[in-house]
C-alpha cells in the first residue's frame, strides 16, 4: 500500500534513544514519524533507573527543571551482601546535589513520555500502539518499514527498539547473540510513602540514594541495585542468562532472596510491590556493538548494544539519549548531501566518539571479562562480610591481625594469587 504521507525519517521505538532522535530531527524541520508499540511512550518501559546527567544535559539543557525526575542521587553505596550481614562503602559529596547534578532516579513511564512529548512539540508525528514488524529492503538497502500489511517508506530508518533489536538483525548488521553476552534484568517497584523513604535513607529535599548490591546471588554472575524514587524504591537484579541456566536458578528467586536479606528487608519493609518487569541486557560491551549503520539505516540506544555495566554502575539511558542525538545529527548531515548511503551515514560513528560514547565503552572494554570471574559473585562478598564481622566482634580469644583473619577466611575459597590477579583485573577494567 502506498502512503499519501512521505516521511524523511521513520524512528522505531519511542524510548530514550528514539524520542531523542525524533526530537533533534524534527527541530531541524524534517518530517519525522516516531512509532511506538506501547499504548504510550514509556508504557512498556518499566526498567527505569538512574540516569546520568551529563550527556542528557547536552541535548536537553537543564532538563531537570522540566522533566519528571524523581530524586537527585547524592548518596552512592556499594554493598557486599553476606549470608546475614553486609559491608557498605558509601560516597557522599556535596557537589552531587547541585546543577548540573551527577544523576537522577527516574521512572520511565513518566520520563519517556516527557521526551516523546518534546519530540511531538518539535513537530514529529508520534504513533503509539503500533509494532514495526519488518524492514522494507531493496537490494540490501533499507527503504522503509512494515507493520502488519502496511508499508511506509522513508529516506532513513532509525532503529531504537531496545535490547531485542530484531530490526538490526533483519538489516543484516548482526548475527545471533551469544548466551554469555546476555543478561536478564528484573525490577520491582516498591511503593512507600515519601516521608518513609526520606527517613529510611536519611535523605530529603529531593535528594536520593543508590545502592549497588554485590553477592548473594547463589553464585550467579550478576548484581543488584536498589535506589530511591520519590515515593517508591526500585529493587532489581541483573543476572547472566547462561549462568542462571547452569545453576538452575530463576531470576525471580534471586530477587525474592534479596527481599528477605536483613539488609534489604528493612529498607523495603511495609512497601507494596506495584510493578514487576523483566528485560534482557547486553553485557558484551564494546565487542558486542554491531555495525551501527547501513544504507538507509541507523541503530541507536540499546538496540545497538550501547551499554556500560562496569559492575558498579549500569549506564544505558544516557547512552541512549546521546546516541539518539548522534544518529539524528548524522542523518541531518546526510540530508545536506541528499545521500543516505552507508558511507554518507558513517559520520554517526565519529559523532558517537565525539559524544564520548564509544570512548567510554572502550575504556570499560575489560569489564565483560570481569563479569566472567565468578569469585566476584561467590567468594568476595561473603569474605568481606565475614572478615568485617570477625574484626568488629569482641572475642574472648586473642586478637589476630586483620590480614591473618582474611587469610584464614579465604582458605579453600580463593588463593592469595587469585585475589591479587582479580584486584589487578578490577584496576585495569575500571
Amino acid at each position: 500500500m502506498a502512503a499519501e504521507e512521505k516521511f524523511d525519517v521513520i524512528v522505531v521505538g519511542a524510548g530514550l534513544a528514539g524520542s531523542t532522535a525524533a526530537y533533534v530531527l524534527a527541530k531541524e524541520g524534517l518530517q519525522v514519524l516516531l512509532i511506538e508499540r506501547g499504548r504510550q511512550a514509556g508504557a512498556k518501559n518499566m526498567t527505569g533507573g538512574i540516569i546520568y546527567s551529563r550527556v542528557v544535559h547536552e541535548v536537553f539543557p537543564n532538563f531537570w527543571e522540566e522533566a519528571p525526575v524523581e530524586r537527585a542521587i547524592t548518596s552512592y553505596n556499594i554493598v557486599f551482601l553476606g549470608e546475614n550481614s553486609a559491608v557498605t562503602l558509601n560516597l557522599k559529596a556535596p557537589g552531587l546535589g547541585k546543577p548540573p547534578y551527577n544523576a537522577f532516579s527516574v521512572l520511565r513511564a513518566k520520563f519517556d513520555r516527557w521526551i516523546a512529548g518534546k519530540a511531538e512539540e518539535a513537530g514529529a508525528t508520534l504513533v503509539t500502539g503500533v509494532t514495526v514488524d519488518e524492514l522494507v529492503m531493496e537490494n540490501g538497502k533499507v527503504k522503509g518499514i512494515k507493520s502488519g500489511s502496511d508499508e511506509l517508506l522513508a529516506d532513513v530508518v532509525i532503529d531504537a527498539e531496545g535490547a531485542k533489536s530484531l530490526l538490526v538483525e533483519k538489516a543484516g548488521l548482526r548475527g545471533d547473540f551469544k548466551p554469555e553476552d546476555v543478561s536478564v534484568g528484573v525490577k520491582e517497584l516498591i511503593e512507600l510513602p515519601e516521608e518513609t523513604v526520606n527517613e529510611r535513607f536519611n535523605v530529603g529535599g529531593g535528594e536520593g540514594a543508590s545502592y549497588t548490591l554485590v553477592g548473594y546471588t547463589k553464585g550467579v554472575a550478576g548484581g543488584g541495585f536498589l535506589y530511591t524514587n520519590k515515593a517508591s524504591i526500585s529493587l532489581g537484579i541483573v543476572a547472566r542468562i547462561d549462568m542462571l541456566v547452569e545453576k538452575q536458578v530463576k531470576v525471580h528467586e534471586l530477587i525474592e532472596d534479596y527481599k528477605v536479606h536483613p539488609f534489604i528487608s528493612k529498607l523495603i519493609e511495609g512497601g507494596n510491590v506495584a510493578e514487576y518487569s523483566a528485560q534482557i541486557i547486553h553485557e558484551g560491551g564494546i565487542a558486542q556493538v554491531p555495525r551501527l549503520y547501513s544504507d538507509g539505516f541507523l541503530a541507536a540506544g540499546s538496540s545497538a548494544c550501547l551499554l556500560i555495566n562496569n559492575l558498579f554502575t549500569l549506564r544505558g539511558m544516557d547512552l541512549a539519549v546521546a546516541s539518539g542525538a548522534a544518529a539524528a545529527r548524522a542523518v541531518l548531515k546526510a540530508k545536506e548531501r541528499n545521500d543516505f548511503s552507508a558511507s554518507s551515514l558513517s559520520a554517526y560513528e565519529s559523532l558517537l566518539r565525539e559524544a564520548f560514547i564509544l570512548t567510554d565503552m572502550e575504556a570499560f572494554r575489560r569489564t565483560p571479562s570481569l563479569l566472567n570471574n565468578r569469585r566476584f559473585f561467590t567468594v568476595y562478598p561473603d569474605l568481606a562480610c565475614s572478615v568485617m564481622e570477625e574484626l568488629f566482634s569482641v572475642n574472648p580469644a586473642p586478637s589476630e591481625k586483620a590480614f591473618k583473619v582474611v587469610r584464614r577466611h579465604m582458605k579453600g575459597k580463593a588463593g592469595l594469587l587469585d585475589v591479587l590477579r582479580d584486584l589487578l583485573g578490577v584496576y585495569r577494567a575500571l
Binding site: 500502539g129 507493520s147 502496511d150
Partner: protein, 261 residues
C-alpha cells in the same frame, strides 16, 4: 445509516492508588477510552462496512479526551466531537446526558446511537437509557449482537435469566456488552489517516449550555470516597509436588476452620 457512538474518556482504574488513610488518589490518573465503548465503536464500524453510512463519535470530557478520540477515529469513525467538561468530571449522569443530547441535536440527524453497557470507571450504565429517554427514542440495552435491516434494528439482549431479542425502528439507542465483538486495533495507516479526519471541539456555550446550567441539572453529590482495604494473607504455595501442596493448603484451611471441621 447515520450512527452516533457515545464514548467516555474514562479514568484508567488500574492506575488508581489508595493512600494509607484509605482515600483514592485521583489526581493525575491517566485516562483511556472506556473499554466497552470500543465495542460500541467496533459495532458501528461493522454496520458501516456492511451497509455504508457515517459514524460520528461524541464525547463529553476533558480536553485530553482528544487522544482517545484519535484512537476511535483510527478505528473507523468519520468525525469526532468533543464537548469540553469544565467541571473536571464532577458532574453526574444527568449533566452528562444534558451535554451529549445538546451535542447530538447540534450534529443533526441520526438513525442509531451506540453506547457501552457501562463505563469502566463510574460503571453506572445510566447514560444510555437516560439519553434515550431525553431524546424520546426507544432503547435496547445489553445487546450481545446487533442487526440492521432497512429502518429497523434487531438485537439480542443478555439478561440474567434469558436472552431476549428486541426489534425497534430507527432512531434507536443501543447499548452493547463487551462480548458483542472484539474491537480492532488500528493499523499504522489507519492511525495516520485518522490524524486528518475532522475533530470538532465545543465549549458548553457553543451548545447553548453553561457550567451553571449543568450544575443545576446535576443533583447528585458525592459525600465520601473510600478505598477498599481487604488485606489478604497472600500465602503462596509453589514448586512443590502436587500432593504436598494440596496437603499444605488443606491444613491451612483446617486451621482457619473454613471446612467446617
Amino acid at each position: 445509516m447515520e450512527i452516533i457512538v457515545c464514548a467516555k474518556y474514562a479514568l484508567d482504574v488500574a492506575e488508581i492508588k489508595i493512600d494509607p488513610s484509605g482515600k483514592p488518589l485521583l489526581d493525575g490518573v491517566p485516562r483511556r477510552v472506556s473499554d466497552i465503548d470500543k465495542n460500541a465503536m467496533e459495532a458501528a464500524v461493522n454496520i458501516k462496512e456492511k451497509q455504508g453510512g457515517t459514524i460520528k463519535v461524541v464525547c463529553f470530557g476533558p480536553a485530553s479526551a482528544k487522544e482517545g478520540l484519535k484512537e476511535l477515529l483510527a478505528m473507523g469513525a468519520d468525525e469526532a466531537y468533543l464537548v469540553e467538561d469544565p467541571s473536571g468530571g464532577m458532574l453526574d449522569t444527568a449533566a452528562t446526558v444534558e451535554a451529549l443530547a445538546a451535542a447530538i441535536q447540534k450534529i443533526g440527524s441520526f438513525d442509531l446511537i451506540l453506547c457501552g453497557e457501562a463505563t469502566t470507571d463510574g460503571y453506572t450504565g445510566q447514560v444510555g437509557p437516560r439519553l434515550a429517554g431525553k431524546l424520546g427514542i426507544p432503547q435496547i440495552t445489553y445487546a450481545r449482537n446487533l442487526n440492521v435491516e432497512g429502518n429497523s434494528v434487531t438485537a439480542e439482549r443478555d439478561l440474567e435469566d434469558a436472552y431476549e431479542t428486541v426489534k425497534a425502528p430507527t432512531p434507536v439507542l443501543v447499548s452493547v456488552t463487551r462480548e458483542i465483538n472484539v474491537p480492532r486495533i488500528p493499523s499504522l495507516m489507519a492511525i495516520l489517516k485518522a490524524s486528518k479526519k475532522p475533530m470538532t471541539i465545543w465549549k458548553l456555550e457553543d451548545l447553548g449550555l453553561s457550567k451553571e446550567k449543568l450544575e443545576q441539572v446535576s443533583t447528585l453529590q458525592t459525600v465520601d470516597l473510600q478505598g477498599f482495604a481487604v488485606e489478604r494473607k497472600r500465602v503462596v504455595i509453589k514448586d512443590k509436588p502436587v500432593e504436598e501442596a494440596v496437603q499444605e493448603l488443606v491444613s491451612y484451611l483446617m486451621k482457619e476452620k473454613a471446612l467446617g471441621v
